[in-house]
Symmetry: D2
Subunit: 339 residues, 4 copies
């Protein structure tokens, strides 16, 4: 491929705007050429802010435009699989927000379409591009902790989503823990074969009434023998809590939270500092740019994307296993979900 990569954005909501800003302003190798949204005003507003030439309410127009090299899919989850399939058939490279779908059958159809079309597909597990987690993963990959034995992931949101969202979210494991399931695989490059999930409703009884949980502790068994744990809460009053640890035969690496500043104040009562960055837009700002750059690079240099379609599928399997484990209070092997 020569010249700049021409990209079209499908979906102009909150995360769509994050990607648009990066594509338009921080990636000289890319032209954000078009944007579609079912809400016309959303598309036109985004286009105005980021200098996008073409807007439409019908993403089909973008797929039909031969000058477009790739699409970035930020529409609602229920549209992902269908758009992937159509985009693949149109020969577009694809970046798709997670999850591909909640149903494995539909994911498999999408991945098959991608494979048949020989286009690139990168799934939006942005946390892999967080500088902290990336450094942890690199240290592990470089052997600095030896053979991994234990993995610990803490992932707590500052506040629960609205109940309307909770009801259609697919449940905590599919909606929130899915990022941590991906992280569990990313950090040590091994596969999880079994999960045990303990869940509870401790934050808000209304979440339980909506059929979900708000607190969880998941045990992971890796194929290679390592053991992992993920703890989740829908509400950490001190802000977004995103930490990981990998412990192994040669040592350990611990990632702590990012803070808005390093000022530490001591007075007659305590030594204190400001709370961690509030939520994902603040904490993961760098990662959103990182994943877009990686996607553009995969396309431009014709190399495999750093987050593949399979990487998008496996956490969905893990989420289903965790949900069943939680419901039946027993460990669930991932192959029980596939079976």
């Amino acid at each position: 491929m020569s010249g700049k990569l021409k990209i079209a954005l499908i979906g102009a909501g909150r995360i769509g705007r994050v990607h648009a800003e990066n594509l338009a302003f921080r990636m000289p190798e890319v032209t954000l050429a078009a944007v579609s949204d079912v809400v016309e005003k959303a598309a036109s507003s985004l286009a105005a802010d980021f200098g996008v030439a073409m807007t439409t309410t019908d993403y089909g127009e973008l797929l039909a435009d031969a000058s477009i090299d790739a699409v970035v899919i930020c529409s609602s989850t229920d549209t992902h699989a269908r758009i992937i399939i159509e985009a693949a058939r149109a020969g577009k490279h694809i970046f798709c927000e997670k999850p591909i779908d909640f149903e494995l059958g539909r994911i498999d159809e999408a991945l098959a379409a991608v494979e048949a079309a020989r286009v690139k597909l990168q799934v939006g597990f942005n946390r892999r591009f967080d500088p902290n987690f990336q450094r942890a993963r690199d240290l592990v990959a470089d052997g600095r902790v030896g053979t991994p034995h234990l993995v610990r992931i803490t992932s707590r949101d500052p506040e629960p989503p609205p109940l309307d969202y909770v009801r259609v979210s697919g449940g905590l494991f599919a909606d929130m823990t899915i990022h941590d399931f991906d992280m569990a695989r990313f950090l040590i490059a091994d596969e999880v074969v079994e999960v045990y999930a303990a869940g509870a409703v401790l934050v808000d009884a209304a979440i339980g009434e909506a059929g979900d949980i708000d607190t969880a502790m998941v045990t992971l068994r890796y194929r290679g023998g390592a053991i992992g744990t993920i703890d989740n809460s829908r509400k950490a009053v001190y802000g977004y809590d995103q930490r990981v640890e990998v412990f192994g035969s040669g040592g350990g690496v611990v990632v702590s939270n990012d803070h808005p500043n390093t000022a530490v104040c001591s007075d007659a009562r305590a030594v204190s500092r400001d709370l961690p960055l509030y939520f994902f837009l603040e904490r993961y700002e760098a990662s959103y740019l990182g994943e877009m750059r990686a996607f553009a690079d995969a396309v431009l240099s014709d190399t495999p994307p750093l987050v593949s379609g399979i990487d998008g599928r496996i956490p969905v399997v893990m989420a289903k296993a965790a949900a069943r484990s939680c419901a039946e209070n027993r460990p669930i092997r991932l192959d029980e979900i596939e079976g």
Copy 2:
């Protein structure tokens, strides 16, 4: 009780010497009056070092001595229950190293004897007196983290014990995790009702051949709904790793490791500091003094010991439940052990 508390030490091994030094040199309210050990030289050497007037190879002599107010039992685990019973019948107050016994029936006999004799019994869960964990517990008790939702305990030794010890240790859960089971109860003052334990042999295959595991991740369900996790390893190359975290509706408290100094060195490669304190004698030095002072205070002021006989019993139940969970790969309720 008037005057100094007269204490006799039973068992002059490594931990006996730790207690002896504290009793003899750092507790003006106490006289370390006698020491017994089946190895005469051990008793006499300890007596010489810490100015103890009376030595014997027969602890029965100490129990028969009416001037002795209390005994500190540091002999081998298989002798604990019997000595507790005899000491109680002799009217002595009792400090006993953990565990009271591996068998619940024998523990119950010992506790019954204590209760019948109306003497004090304090069990040696010294970590409750570690300034770090104590502060965490106090913050929780003061409501600083609100209602507890999640508890995380990391407990990793710098190196595994000798294989000969492993074979008679009662297994990782009874030998090592037992402290963490106590910590789980101590930190949030709630009871665990169910455990799920994932274990592995990752450190040394010989430990597996000896019938034990060396790595574990235990999930705890509390009566009040909170969820906990304990991760253990027999070998952390960077030293003793002893951290806890309590997370709740109002915030969280995190305890990290103690280091021998605060010097941080920056050179052209990294910012670095020295490893954490090596092992329990270094890390928990203050806690050993703290528990002895608390025991003396309980006796002198006739108040309940801060670690009761029941506190000594419950972690044994938890260890048994964890061992069964690990063997059967399913969550085990504590009442299954009692049944």
Copy 3:
């Protein structure tokens, strides 16, 4: 003023490009309308990268363009005063990189022109907009440390500039410490009345041969009685070292360095993390955006700039006092420089 602020950039070097990117891509309230540079290619390259409509090698054209509201001066230091004067006469608001000039007479002429024209002038002491220092200053201003007693500023570069630059830099105090002199005033909102500077050549003898020093410790006396210190080095092998501390009757605030990630690795030898951010482009990235936003806001809302012309002048006086103190090895009052 209605609509977007139209800004022209004068000087398309390294720092010019930093400002251009912020003005073009991160400030919706602004249009970067033009750029000039004596090197045509520099101007056109910048214009291409950031979508600037007009380029010229003659900044006079920009000043003559009535549609331009304000200029950002990033040309070489010896041109600052002259361009300020011309821009002011042309009725443009002015952002000027520090220093305004090395000579007080020329600074005074520039400030007089600004005052006569009633335009805004903001000087590029970007560190005031660093989130860490800003938080420290806010804590001080909010009374969290009480009355300031001691101020400590550490400012060390990762490596010395080229000797050719050293020779024309105006000397360490004018070139490097000048930022710290501004910081000293910013942090506690008090004026320095006397300085004592100890300097040395410890990093590189060639710097001494070029007539400069590379290491310094400056003592500051504030009008209100507080005492400050600045330590400088041209070479910290571990990277850019930018820390401050304010200590007062009610407590203290300490700002430490920013790091590229929070990963901490423990192995058999040490606990370590990556070095601080390498140099000013990394460490002060946020501050460059912050100062541009503040400038635009001052113009758009017709409020005084947060770094005034006087704020640009005083550190030059302090640098001269420090240089004389260093040469004569005695404390120098600032009014000796003015006299």
Copy 4:
């Protein structure tokens, strides 16, 4: 020397009791054989608490006792020089609290007596035995920071001494900074040749009325070219603030404060931890034991004490230079004091 070292303690005040506890209980190589104090009750109370056989109100008796190998002088400063001289003549090895005296002539007499008698003299600069500073010094000595360029010492007390004490203290530099002057020499093993001291009365006007200052910033010039700074305050509301930093051609080492625990609490407002250890008895506990062990070792192994008589003398010179610098507001060379 064979057998245990027999030591007599002269002065049974607060610091005398600290040494007594270490000598009696934590140093098997030593017997604390006798104690003298002009207040009989002080001596007898200490003797009772730490099992000391002999007490007297006349230290001359201790010096006359041939069985005594060494004395530890903790009496008031005005008695130090005289007792050193008498002890030396009696052939006793000597540990003496700092300072030896405020007058150089009397110090020189004492040192001459020590040299003539060929006994050991160790001066009580205990901070050299603080594990944090010791580690910093070792890192410097091992070349980990290369050639030292900058030294920074922060030394702030939690609260000022009583005014009655201030009046006879010899002034801030002789009473408080003297420890930091010693630290400045200890850390990089180079000599200071010139000081510049800026002092102020900011904590309490009554201290100024008593003829002293309560806040100071001292610049140090080392013979080898390095520059140092010491900042002092009589009142840090957050507790004892004792930090150092050495920066050099190869990197830097920073020592921060010790805290009573590692618990860090996050709630909806801040991330906070408890204040540093309150004052010297807490912070420097380990150092008092360390210096006694070093003294005993020097005597028993016939090696030079780690803090010599000259080490005791030089900080007094530095204090005098600082006081004159502060009074005359000019840098003072140490040889001006000697002249």
